[in-house]
């Protein structure tokens, strides 16, 4: 079937099989490999993308469900001039990743949090991010990065 949706701000149309997941369409059909797949049972968060601003697990979310919606992936965060999203920059500045495999999903989950709650407390960050697993960092620098990004975004919005 033909499927059309907004992807990172652009309207796209792709052919998709009924049983294909959003992760399969992104990775296999559209060659957008930033979205990673790990547990395939919605418990690790590696494949997190935003659909109409809400974080979903692309590994089990049927591509068909995205029709007519607005999908944002990790590839959609960097500005055209190369400026990184404050979360991306904070992840670099705080060493908030090692192998990087969980990172796209981690950043997308964090973006959903900050979009909804620009000044989260440490407990709110931990609660919101509990569905994302990282095996490298021990989470400590990720919490720091999200806090730093929130501060940067607050300053930017005042400008």
């Amino acid at each position: 079937m033909q499927l059309s949706f907004q992807l990172n701000g652009r309207q796209i149309e792709v052919h998709s099989e009924a049983e294909e997941t959003l992760a399969e369409v992104l990775r296999n059909t559209l060659n957008l490999n930033g979205t990673k797949v790990s547990c395939e049972v919605q418990v690790c968060g590696a494949c997190t993308v935003l659909v109409d601003g809400v974080p979903v697990s692309a590994c089990t979310y049927l591509a068909y469900e995205a029709r007519g919606k607005n999908v944002t992936t990790i590839e959609g965060l960097e500005k055209a001039d190369g400026t990184l999203h404050p979360l991306q920059q904070a992840f670099i500045d705080d060493f908030a990743f090692q192998c990087g495999y969980c990172t796209p999903g981690m950043i997308m989950s964090a973006k959903a949090l900050l979009d909804e709650n620009p000044k989260p407390t440490r407990d709110e960050i931990i609660h919101h991010m509990d569905g994302n697993i990282c095996r490298c960092t021990g989470y400590v620098p990720i919490v720091a990065a999200i806090q730093r990004a929130a501060e940067v975004m607050a300053k930017e919005s005042k400008k």
Binding site: C39, R135, T137
Partner: protein, 763 residues
């Protein structure tokens, strides 16, 4: 102290941002999972439902006839290959041959136009099995009437990494044995003032690298080309050379970014299978395992340990004895080395005059065990550091003071024949104790402890590299050390930039490709900073020597008149930077100089271990009386790393390792029920999450420049894991007075222990 002691660093010892930062936060970093080759087909694997069974027949005709299927491969199709591989013991067939040895073992693979077609064809493969009696624990494997897993005598692998005999395949289920002994244990225990003695169990754990095993193979008359998510591409190359009977030059392993390793991607895994698929299908083939399949591929050895430790009246540890049975699963993989290392690591980091440790690993019909972060050390630091606290409690000593009094001292040869200890445990322990507020009052139900680990690093010194200085002064480093996330591709250029006096930004790294990058034995055992770092340092200096000679040629003076300065040379008034030296030498603004170095087991690397990996951790926990749930209140890590080339990365390794260790202490455990793995998915296998994060965390480094690596650096990144499970158990004992000797300390186990204690008190 190292002769290289220097402190005025320009580039090293600075927390420069990671080289792979931008590609990783933008989703552009390429992992094998992301790669596609032209004409590539996809494989899926059929796995055995039985733990131990004869394969009576396999009929692949229905599967092979399906639309979109290129071929089906089984153990019957391997004529022309040497299908058994293994760097320690060649006991592992790339597909089951004649029989299966664990539930989940690959029996056949379908190669098809896409993954779904391959997957759907699996159920059309008809396999007839005849079930055999199976064993699942070392005790069962040792029983008189136990079935044999392996009937034949094995060829010992050429690269086993230890000097002892391989004991597998001698008509028993014993895979490997190891023993160390000095002093007179019996007399020491007889004369002891106090002794503790108990049994401990360390669980099977799964590393959960979030990128599951994946490889792409292209086998043609040009050779075997493989992209793999492998920690040790050169060792995998050796196995493939043997499987395909090819010269080394015809086997090529390319490793892009790796999505987590932690030891689980060390040594050969699915590469022989995917190469055989490509060989039969005559096209490139990708095999991407699911996480559930990865859990059926490698785990850590679980360990049953009986241990006793003795002190004299002055509180000095005088003896330790242990008997360990490790469960290595169906194939040896790296377990022979795990056995040797876990034997050695029962001792350290304490100076004990009487020692007897006997260790054996047993083949069982379970998922093969292999390396796991700190291989072998976590398994024995669990009983070892538990007993230190148990003993301190028994003789009424403060466990921190007791450790200080017995810890190996800098320069002490506490393990006969090995390198004298190169860490500073007193400082490590002091720092950890201070960080968690040692001695301050604690609320009820809270417990606080410190623990240490000092392990003979498994890093074997065999490393080479090439540092290419280009005519514009920029630099390319050819390194066979894989970037697993540990930051090697940031640390290595820091060292080259420091030595060559060029900007860090102008030094680039070419990642592991066995056809291009010089030989590096492995990326594991915390070796890269020390060994590859030393190689890069020496190769940079060798490039400088060459450029000094070139400068003399260019300036038409004697070599002795040229003085190397930071970033170039001086001769009288004249100064040339490297770009000018090379451009003038070649007469064009192009060309290069190649600095090389070869590290082997000689000189400062002659004595093993190359370094002792030391760290202390400190924890404060609280226990919920009602549920048995442990909460991590505080965590401190102290990495004794000699010199941190990049302190932020070194601390990141420590907190990552400590968190994995916390997982073993609190929740991680693969559970078998009969022949089947019961929690073989991330739905059921619990790993630490954000909500398990300790409320307060402090990360510290001890930097005494006492290692043999660059500027006194030595390895880190494993040691903080090793002591964590014992640390948690010790803290629980101090908090609520129950001693638990089976990890992990799940809420249920703690709750049961509390209930038993209560009912005993009521009796």
């Amino acid at each position: 102290m190292s002769a290289e002691k220097k402190t005025d660093f320009h580039v090293v010892n600075h927390s420069l941002p990671r080289r792979d930062g931008r590609v990783k936060v933008t989703g552009k970093a390429q992992y094998v999972a992301d790669l596609k080759l032209i004409g590539m087909a996809y494989a899926k694997v059929l796995r055995s439902p039985y733990a131990h069974a004869k394969i009576v027949s396999i009929d692949t005709s229905r599967a092979a006839a399906r639309l979109g299927v290129y071929c089906v491969i089984t153990g019957n199709d391997l004529a022309g290959l040497n299908p058994y591989y293994g760097h320690a013991v060649k006991d592992h067939p790339l597909l089951a041959i004649d029989k299966v040895r664990y539930a989940g073992e690959p029996v056949a693979a379908v190669v098809a136009i896409d993954e779904r077609t391959a997957f759907e064809a699996l159920e059309f493969i008809d396999v007839k099995y005849e079930e055999l009696k199976a064993v699942f624990t070392p005790e069962q494997a040792l029983a008189k009437d136990a079935p044999l897993l392996h009937e034949k005598q094995f060829e010992a692998g050429a690269l086993r990494g230890f000097e002892g005999e391989v004991t597998a395949g001698k008509g028993t289920n014993i895979c490997q044995t190891h023993k160390i002994q000095w002093g007179d244990v019996e007399t020491a225990f007889k004369n002891a003032a106090a002794v503790v003695e108990a049994n401990y169990y360390f669980p099977m754990t799964y590393a959960y690298a979030m990128e599951a095993y994946v490889a792409i193979a292209d086998v043609t008359d040009q050779g075997v080309n493989i992209y793999s998510s492998a920690q040790h591409p050169f060792m995998v190359r050796h196995d493939l050379k043997s499987v395909f009977n090819l010269p080394v030059s015809k086997v090529r392993l390319i490793v892009p970014f790796v999505g987590g390793g932690y030891g689980s991607k060390s040594y050969t895994k699915i590469e022989p299978l995917v190469a055989a698929c490509s060989w039969k299908a005559k096209r490139p083939v990708k095999l991407q395992l699911t996480v559930e399949e990865a859990m059926l591929t490698t785990r850590s050895d679980d360990a049953y340990t009986w241990m006793r430790t003795a002190v004299d009246a002055s509180g000095k540890i005088i003896a330790r004895q242990a008997k360990i049975y490790m469960n290595t699963g169906a194939y040896a993989e790296n377990s022979p080395l795990v056995v040797e290392k876990s034997t050695n690591r029962c001792v350290g980091p304490y100076a004990i005059p009487n020692v007897l440790i006997e260790n054996s690993s047993l083949y069982t019909n379970t998922v093969p065990a292999s390396s796991y972060r700190g291989f072998g050390c976590a398994q024995v630091t669990w009983p070892g550091e538990s007993q230190i606290d148990e003993l301190a409690a028994k003789i009424g000593k403060d466990p921190y003071e007791f450790r200080l009094a017995n810890a190996a001292k800098p320069g002490e040869e506490f393990f006969p024949g090995m390198r004298p200890f190169d860490g500073t445990l007193k400082q490590d322990l002091d720092t950890a104790a201070k960080a968690i507020g040692w001695g301050k009052p604690l609320p009820k139900g809270h417990g606080r402890t410190v623990a240490v680990s000092g392990s003979d690093a498994g890093a074997y010194p065999l490393t080479s590299t090439a540092v290419r200085v280009h005519a514009d002064g920029s630099v390319t480093i050819m390194t066979g050390s894989t970037e697993l996330g540990q930051g090697s591709h940031t640390v290595i250029p820091q060292i080259a930039a420091e030595e060559l006096g060029v900007p860090f930004e102008s030094v680039n790294v070419v990642a592991s490709d066995t056809a291009i990058t010089p030989y590096d034995r492995s990326t594991g055992a915390s070796r890269t900073t020390t060994l590859m770092g030393s190689a890069v340092l020496e190769a940079s200096r060798e490039a400088i020597q060459q450029m000094v000679v070139m400068a003399a040629d260019v300036l038409k003076v004697k070599v002795e008149e040229i003085q190397a300065i930071r970033g170039g040379v001086r001769c009288g008034e004249a100064q040339l930077n490297w770009s000018e030296v090379i451009s003038k030498f070649y007469g064009l603004p192009d060309g290069e100089v190649i600095g090389r170095s070869y590290i082997r087991k000689s000189g400062k690397f002659a004595k093993l271990p190359v370094f002792w990996e030391a760290a202390a951790t400190g924890v404060e926990i609280s226990v919920d009386d009602e549920t048995g749930k442990i909460t991590m209140e505080k965590l401190a890590t102290v990495g004794d790393v000699g010199l941190a080339i990049n302190p932020a990365l070194a601390e990141g390794q420590d907190i990552g390792a400590a968190t994995m260790g916390m997982g073993i202490g609190l929740c991680e455990e693969l559970v078998y029920e009969g022949s089947q793995l019961m929690n073989g998915s991330i739905l059921d296998y619990q790993v630490p999450r954000f909500s398990d994060l300790p409320k307060e965390v402090e990360l510290h480094l001890v930097q005494n420049q006492d290692g043999v690596g660059p500027y006194g650096a030595k390895g880190g990144g494993e040691a903080s894991l090793n002591s964590m499970a014992a640390n948690i158990a010790n803290a629980v004992d101090r908090a609520v007075g129950v001693r638990i000797r089976q990890a992990p300390l799940t809420p249920e186990r703690v709750w049961r222990a509390l209930r038993d204690k209560k009912s005993k008190m009521e009796d």
